[in-house]
């Protein structure tokens, strides 16, 4: 099966600083991948690069069938990034924000999903046509309402300005945007951060539901217990590169596909690195 994400030695710069120093990674469809690493290791940069925001200086990157080196703009409609910042407009209500984001991605999204429907797998195809049906008949209000309800924002909070929300509520609103868009690839940067216990459970549920609906999820998190329960696979990011780490789930096969940096990982154990 063609992987949803396929990276080979990707180098990405910010001015002179290498955010990513040679990342190699494969992610299959319907996988939930957890990015783990110290602060400044490159997790956020990796997510941003996957969403096409960061130009790629060297290497090759295929995401959702798009070659990011050639065109990193059109891939954005098919994925959603939940970043550190909330991408919400302060002066608009939660509902306005979700509606806007939904309609912004909908025009192209509807076309794309129609094309997708023809060659999607059975499970996904059924779901896609159901989503399409909803999209076709309404202007997305339905999708927005569903997402808001799911995130517990359907009541009074729905018509509250984002500037008046607490940090946790803002986070929920940002997640509602992602949920409403129903992207094929979810890129989440610290999804559990800033949420209370019920919020975290909710995020886990949403991620699993999305996976069952055919989406692929890559998320970065410092909360190792939570994350390792949720994820199929954990990937260590350090020094702008990626080192595969097998999940402790029984029967999971460790991935040893000649990844750059893997020898370094072995060297690191008990060896004095200058």
């Amino acid at each position: 099966m063609i992987p949803v994400i396929s990276l080979r030695d990707v180098v990405a710069l910010s001015g002179r600083f290498p955010l990513l120093a040679g990342v190699t990674l494969d992610v299959q469809q319907c996988e939930i991948v957890h990015l783990r690493g110290a602060n400044g290791a490159g997790k956020s940069s990796l997510l941003r690069m996957l969403s096409g925001l960061v130009p790629i200086t060297a290497g090759s990157a295929m995401v959702l069938g798009h070659d990011l080196v050639v065109d990193r703009i059109s891939v954005r409609r098919e994925l959603a990034l939940l970043g550190h910042a909330s991408f919400l407009y302060d002066d608009l209500t939660v509902e306005d924000n979700v509606r806007f984001a939904l309609r912004a991605s909908r025009a192209e999204g509807a076309r794309a999903s129609r094309a997708e429907g023809a060659r999607a797998s059975r499970a996904e195809g059924a779901r896609a046509s159901r989503a399409e049906g909803a999209a076709g008949s309404l202007t997305g209000a339905d999708g927005a309402q569903q997402a808001l309800a799911r995130l517990g924002l359907a009541g009074r909070l729905r018509t509250t300005r984002v500037s008046r929300l607490s940090a946790g509520q803002r986070r929920r609103a940002a997640i509602a945007v992602v949920v409403a868009r129903r992207p094929r690839l979810w890129l989440l940067d610290e999804p559990h951060a800033g949420l209370d216990a019920s919020g975290r459970l909710l995020v886990d549920e949403l991620v699993l539901e999305a996976r069952d609906a055919g989406a692929t999820i890559v998320f970065a998190s410092h909360e190792l217990d939570n994350a390792e329960r949720l994820a199929d696979r954990t990937v260590e990011v350090s020094g702008g590169r990626v080192v595969e780490v097998a999940n402790e789930a029984p029967g999971a096969t460790p991935l040893v596909d000649g990844v750059v940096g893997e020898p370094a990982h072995e060297e690191d154990i008990g060896v004095d690195v200058a």
């Binding site: 954005r76 990034l81 970043g83 910042a85 909330s86 002066d91 608009l92 306005d96 991605s105």
Partner: protein, 225 residues
Amino acid sequence: MLRDALLVAGKDLRIELRSRVAIGQVVPFALVVLLLFGLALGPSVGRGSVLYSAAAGLFWIAVLLATVLGVQRSFSIEAVDGASDGLRLSGLDPAGIFLGKAAAIGCELLVLELILALASALLYDRPLTGAVLLLATCAVATVGLVAIGTLYGAVSLGARQRETLLPLLFFPMVAPLLLAATKSWEEAYGTSGHQGTGWLDVLAVFAVAYLAIGTVAFGPLLEDA
């Protein structure tokens, strides 16, 4: 593209309605500018005074200054939380974003011009003759102004040495617009020797040209924030 433009314009105008920055900050600023001109060039008004003969030019300079503020405001909306990424991630067509933002700023500008025109008529004791030409000039000149403003607004989006870049880039490019608009207003006033809408036609050419350039160049510039 047009659909995206309407979406963005609607969003921007809705934000303006809720936050009232343009009406609450930019319009007063422009009025202050008119006042300051009066202080610098007055105090005599009426025929023969400096303020009288310069009224059209002073009006348009105030409009230009206000445009810069309006553009900065329009783009600072997108950069809340330090994230100018939101717009790029939204999946909207960049040309549509450009037209939508330009349209929103344009609407705000038109309202401002109306207020300023009345104010300048009062302050500089200059009746607004030839109202049709005045209005037409405002409309067309505004198109050109917001086109260039929005285009360069994309360059000045985001932090890192960029906020002060906008006026420097904007003013040289709109100098011809300033010239044409002022002369067109003076034709409306009836003070220029030349009759007719010649300058208005010139303005129209600029407006179309700048709009076209902006639509094409905005996308790549937005990427580089």
